[in-house]
Amino acid sequence: MVQRRTAQTPNNDEIQVDHNRDGIDRRGFLKCMAWAGTGALCVLQGGVLKSYSLRHGYGSKRHAQGELSFVQISDRHMGFNKPANPDVIDTLKAAVDKINALPIMPEFMLHTGDISHLSKPEQFDNVDQILKSAHPKNVFFVPGEHDVLEDDGKQYRERYARGAKGAGWYSFDMKGAHFIGLVNVMNLRAGGLGTLGAEQLEWLEKDVKHLSKSTPVIVFAHILLWTVYPEWGWGTDDSAQALAYLKRFGSVTVRNGHIHQTMQKVEGNVTFHTAASTAFPQPKPGEAPSPGPMKVPAEQLRSLLGVTDVNYAPGQHGLAVTDSTLE
C-alpha cells in the first residue's frame, strides 16, 4: 500500500511539552524514531524496481515475487556506542532476523556504506560475523566515509572490494538487470559534497555504453547522488555527470545511505531512494543544528522501531510523504 500526502502542516513541528528540555517532546520523539529502521526489500517486477521497508514485518509472497529481489541495508556504524544507540550489534541482528524471515529469499544484499564507525578491523569483523547468519550469502558493498578513515580505504578494498576498480567501484549483471556500485566518499574537497571523480565517471560512461536502453539499471553508492541538503553535505558534487550517462535508460534506480532516514524522489526515468540505518537516526534536513545522531534511550529506540514508515520525497511544493508497507 502506498499513501502519499503532503507534509506541510503548519505548526506541526512545534514542541508542545518539553519535559527534559532537550528540544524533543514525545510526539517529536516518535517522529524521530521513524527515521531509524532496518532495511529495504527491493523487487524487480516487469523491469521496474519496487521497494518495501522491512520495518513493518515480513510481507507476503505476492509482494516478494518478481524477476529478482534483493535487500538493501546501510549504515551499520559498528563500534558506535553513544546514547543514540549503545547496542548497534543487537539492532543489526534484529535486521538480519527480519531478512531471514522474508517469504522469498532475496538473491543478495547491497550494503550502502558505513559498515564500521571508525574503520577498525574488529568493527568490520563484527559485521561480517553477524551477516554470516543472513540467508542471502552474497553481499555487495560500497564504502561510506566511516569505512575509509586513516588508510585511504586500503583495508576496506582488501575486505570488500577485491577485483573492483579504483577506490572500489564495479558493476555486475543479474537476471537482466545491471548493477553499478559507485564510490563517492574519497578525496573529499573542503567545502564540497561527495565526489565521484573523473576516473570513475570515465569508467561509468564506458561501463553502460554497451547496454541496451531497456536494461534496468540499479546504481548504489553511500552519499546521495541527488542533492537533498547541501548545507549538511547531503549530495554529490559531480553526480549530474553520472546521471547524464544514464539518461537513455528506461528504468534507473539510485539507492543510497548516509543520511539515516528513508527518502525517495522520482525524476524522469530515475527513482532515488535512501535507506535507513540500524545504528542511530539522524534529524530531518535542516531541522536540527547539525546532522548528528538523535539521542534517545536505547530501549526506547528499539521498542519504537517500526512505529511508522516515512519516505520523504522533496517535490515542488514542500515534502511529500509516502508510506510503504508490506501487506
Binding site: 558506535f80 553513544k82 546514547p83 543514540a84 564507525h117 571508525l118 574503520s119 566515509e145 566511516h146 578513515l149 586513516e150 573529499l188 574537497r189 573542503a190 567545502g191 564540497g192 559534497l193 547541501p230 548545507e231 549538511w232 553535505g233 543544528p289 547539525s290 546532522p291 548528528g292 545522531p293 539521542k295
Partner: protein, 118 residues
C-alpha cells in the same frame, strides 16, 4: 555521555613551519589549562568554534571533538592533518610562520574554518 579521554601516541610532524602534536590531556604543556596562552577550538554540532582564530606564531592551537561523530582537522594545503578524532579526543599544533591557514574536516567537508597566524 562523553567518554573518558583517550590516550594516543604523540605524533610530531613539522611541515612548512607547522609543528603538529597529538597528545594526552595529562601531558604537561599540552592542554590549555597548563598552557594559558594556548588557543582552544571546539568541534561541536559539525562545526569549528570559533570558525576563525587569530594567534601569534608559536601559540599552540588545540581542537577537542565534542560530537558523538568522529571528525578530523585537515589543512586544505596539506600542511597538517589530525588522525580521526573520536568523541573527546584532541589534536594540537603550534604554527610557527605567519599566514592564513584554512582547514576542514575530511569526513564532513562542509565543515571549514581558518587560523590566522601573525
Amino acid at each position: 555521555m562523553k567518554k573518558s579521554l583517550c590516550t594516543y601516541a604523540v605524533a610530531i610532524s613539522t611541515l612548512l613551519g607547522f609543528i603538529a602534536l597529538a597528545k594526552t590531556p595529562g601531558t604537561l604543556a599540552a592542554t590549555p589549562e597548563s598552557s594559558p596562552s594556548g588557543i582552544e577550538v571546539k568541534i561541536d554540532n559539525f562545526s569549528y568554534s570559533p570558525a576563525a582564530v587569530t594567534v601569534k606564531a608559536g601559540t599552540q592551537v588545540t581542537w577537542t571533538n565534542h560530537d558523538d561523530i568522529p571528525h578530523t582537522v585537515v589543512s586544505t594545503d596539506n600542511l597538517f592533518k589530525s588522525k580521526t578524532l573520536d568523541t573527546d579526543e584532541k589534536f594540537s599544533f603550534i604554527p610557527t610562520k605567519p599566514g592564513t591557514y584554512s582547514y576542514f574536516c575530511s569526513i564532513h567537508p562542509k565543515m571549514t574554518a581558518q587560523i590566522v597566524v601573525q
